[in-house]
């Protein structure tokens, strides 16, 4: 195997792991945000939550 193979594999794997991490964090964030919005739409709010509509923070 040539040295180019080892370099390409190293950068390729690093990119793959980094992209998986970014994708996981983004998708997880979207899913949690959607769940919070659904709960709020069904009238379930945190006791300390502000009373403005659409607030998910």
């Amino acid at each position: 195997m040539s040295h180019t193979f080892y370099i390409a594999m190293s950068y390729g794997l690093t990119a793959l792991v980094a992209l998986c991490l970014i994708g996981w964090v983004m998708l997880d964030g979207r899913a949690r945000k959607r769940e919070l919005a659904e709960l709020e739409m069904s009238g379930i709010r945190r006791r300390s939550a502000p009373h403005s509509a659409g607030e998910t923070r």
């Binding site: 080892y6 594999m9 190293s10 964090v25 997880d28 964030g29 709010r45 945190r46």
Partner: protein, 268 residues
Amino acid sequence: MIRIRASGAILAQKESMTESLAITKISDLANPTRFLALAARILPWMAGATALLFAIGLYLSFTTEGDYQQGDTVRIMYVHVPAAWLSMMCYTVMAISAIGTLVWRHPLADVSHKAAAPLGAAFTLIALVTGSLWGKPMWGTWWVWDARLTSVFVLFLMYLGLIALNRALDDPSRAARVSAVLILVGFVNIPIIKFSVDWWNTLHQPASVVRLDGPTIDAEFLWPLLIMAVAFTLLFFTLHIAAMRNEIWRRRVTAQRRMAARMAGKEE
């Protein structure tokens, strides 16, 4: 004399006010709602800075000269070394958070070490695999059970164990306390990783950047390495803050669902 004493008292009062203001600012961040507001403000900037630094770092990584001995294979260093540094830094962040959980019961401390564990595992995996890919053409072997490689492998197993433990326990506060104790016990591995190349005879080279007598690496390689290291560090903190935000949202969802179940139970 009286005037001097009076001005001294005013100065002391001012200092105490500044100190209490600083403490208030820090304790403000302990409030998850304020943390979420801060995260929403800074995350886009951090993501942008990370992308810019990676663009510069990658450009330099592929345009600088190859090493006189290693040739182009030296370019693996620009991803391997930052990932290895981060694998240790992430664990250090977790250890600080663990102290926050056990000593101050900081509301964000357990969120912080829970969110950091998968990131640490990922960076340690990158360090192990790229190290192996660098070792084969340079050392003639993919792996040896020497002190540096073995201690980093142990770190990877520790990350996996902590992720499993957090998922195994239903009660988040109990999981946080147990994890915090394990994290602090496991922190002993970090100085072992750092100094393993000095304490034992290993195939891995000794430190060439973080040394008391300064870096021994040529500036041609040092600059791309440092820029990539800052890019990786920013990537870690961006992902860590985003993962902490997700964990806070997850806990709110759980709490609200529990509240909804209690309300439904009362109605019945």
